[in-house]
Symmetry: C2
Subunit: 339 residues, 2 copies
């Protein structure tokens, strides 16, 4: 890789932005310049980076003039607001929000699945939703062998998906309940400590919430297969930063379990944790801070010859968001696909 990439992080103070900074250091990203951008509220704060201290700048019309890659994680409205400016400045935006994911001119990329799509970008590459990324890396190796026809998935989503303040809220709520109080939720719509609730994103006309339809539509786009039928039930659980998913996969013929396990274990971005003897399978505490998605309980569905079931946990902030975005940036640099 060349060592002269100028990167800006838009939304540098959030849970994902913070993790992106960590990952750029950890993965020794070939930076020549790192610019931390945020709203005026955060401007002027400093953030340690290697041996330096970087000052957060307020994003303006000229922020992107000397930038190659913008890693955006400040929400959909911010991404929409600055997209044109970023593209006109000649930079590429890797966008964590859902704003452009289903835009047919915007590639939606998981590097382990469809890296080739990144090449087609016109200035924006979208980072998929966390639940979609985690499921995708786990099951795509199977789809390559025998096409998946239908997916029924139930999620167990951590507080981090609702942001750093939601994570803090769960801890404060838990302490309050342990003290015998009845804490009132502020960030999340309902109490989450010692509780759970169906995902609170807006409900669409088909009675699936937006989060659930992201899993449906984004998976189809990333896999390049509009024929996969998918039903998702998304649930928020009192876990801090790793999501879990129970996935039922239908093929049009039986898929031998050992072959499936072998395929998943050889795939990039996945670690198989499938210890039947000790009843030890992926757990959020084991997935937290890990790059790989942990996949286990790979088994024959006893209710249907053509179905398999898998269970996974993955760090929502890392592979579910920040890591996938940084991997896309690395891909653009390696392949020389920035322009």
């Amino acid at each position: 890789m060349s060592n002269n990439i100028r990167v800006a992080i838009l939304g540098a103070t959030g849970a994902v932005g913070t993790e992106i900074i960590n990952l750029l250091i950890e993965r020794d990203f070939p930076l020549s310049q790192l610019k931390l951008l945020a709203s005026s509220r955060s401007a002027g704060k400093t953030i340690p980076f290697k041996n330096q201290s970087l000052t957060i700048e307020e994003v303006t019309e000229n922020s992107f003039d000397d930038v190659d890659i913008v890693l955006a994680s400040a929400g959909g409205s911010t991404s929409k607001k600055w997209a044109k400016t970023i593209i006109e400045a000649g930079a590429v935006m890797i966008d964590n929000s859902s704003a452009f994911r289903m835009d047919e001119n915007v590639p939606l990329v998981v590097p382990e699945i469809n890296p080739q799509d990144a090449q087609k970008h016109q200035g924006i590459i979208a980072n998929p939703n966390c639940t979609t990324i985690l499921m995708g890396v786990a099951i795509y190796p199977l789809h390559l062998i025998k096409p998946i026809k239908r997916i029924i998935v139930s999620t167990y989503q951590s507080a981090s998906g609702a942001g750093a303040r939601a994570m803090e809220e769960v801890k404060v709520q838990a302490q309050g309940i342990l003290n015998g109080e009845t804490p009132q939720p502020e960030i999340l719509p309902y109490p989450l400590a010692f509780n759970l609730f169906p995902h609170n994103s807006p409900i669409l006309d088909n009675h699936y919430c937006e989060e659930e339809m992201k899993m449906v539509n984004e998976t189809r786009k990333i896999f390049g297969d509009d024929g996969i039928r998918i039903s998702a039930t998304c649930v928020r659980v009192p876990v801090l930063r790793a999501h879990s998913e129970a996935i039922n996969l239908e093929f049009d013929q039986p898929f031998e379990v050992n072959e499936a396990k072998e395929a998943i274990s050889q795939a990039e971005g996945v670690t198989v944790v499938d210890d039947w003897a000790n009843n030890y399978f992926p757990m959020p505490i084991d997935a937290t801070g890990k790059d790989d998605v942990l996949v286990g309980r790979i088994r024959q569905d006893i209710s249907s010859d053509n179905n398999l079931e898998v269970w996974l946990c993955g760090d929502q902030i890392r592979k579910g968001a920040a890591l996938n975005a940084v991997q896309i940036a690395e891909l653009l640099v390696e392949k020389n696909w920035l322009k």
Copy 2:
């Protein structure tokens, strides 16, 4: 109802035993005598009951001589140990353990579903597993209209299913984590506070755990339909005492959502909480302490014309265990099925 039923609670100090005592008072069960039985460890302790104070007795060979109904919730080995003694004493054991559930001579009863089976008892009636009861009352009304062909269910099971000490452990763990410690689990196999894990019951040869196969086998027995194909993924979550379940139901033809909702709403033991406008659905905190199973998110599965999806929460200790057992006792008294 007559007012002369002599009841013994075997395992009176556990989470379920305690709730049975509360329910006998609340529901004004026609008691002429209540005997609280437990191991020698608890014998001599007193428990308040109405205006009295009842002393816990150690269970012995003669404990059941003057008893009509034994409500047993002290675990499978205790139930097995005393079953013959109870039957020979002329009492009926309503057993919360899994010891006799699949015995063909033992009815497995959910009063809202198969009350008639209770009449066939030969001294033992089994109370189903919590997850089975909660799912059963929610979906049986649909099965009566169009037979259910296949069920795919993912559970979100509270700590209470592992007993009162597991509930306490989750709270202690949560406090430890909030204090920055790394608490070691004692009752549960893995940390549960701010974590979750696939159910830790023994794994069977088919790679389903015992808890999952209870949902499969018990549902078939209660519904009286061995043809229903069922796959369950059971997961323990850091919630105290209400279970949740995401259920996908396959019929052999489409089932109109409004008809399904109407059928469930008219069923006994169920309250529909299906507020799409406000994104308000069943949550453990709302189900806790309630007799009814809360059912919502009743919707067409977008991945299959012949499938519906439902979401439920139910109090694991009440309808999932103690209440169902007390309802069976009430049924025996009302119908005069004690002998």
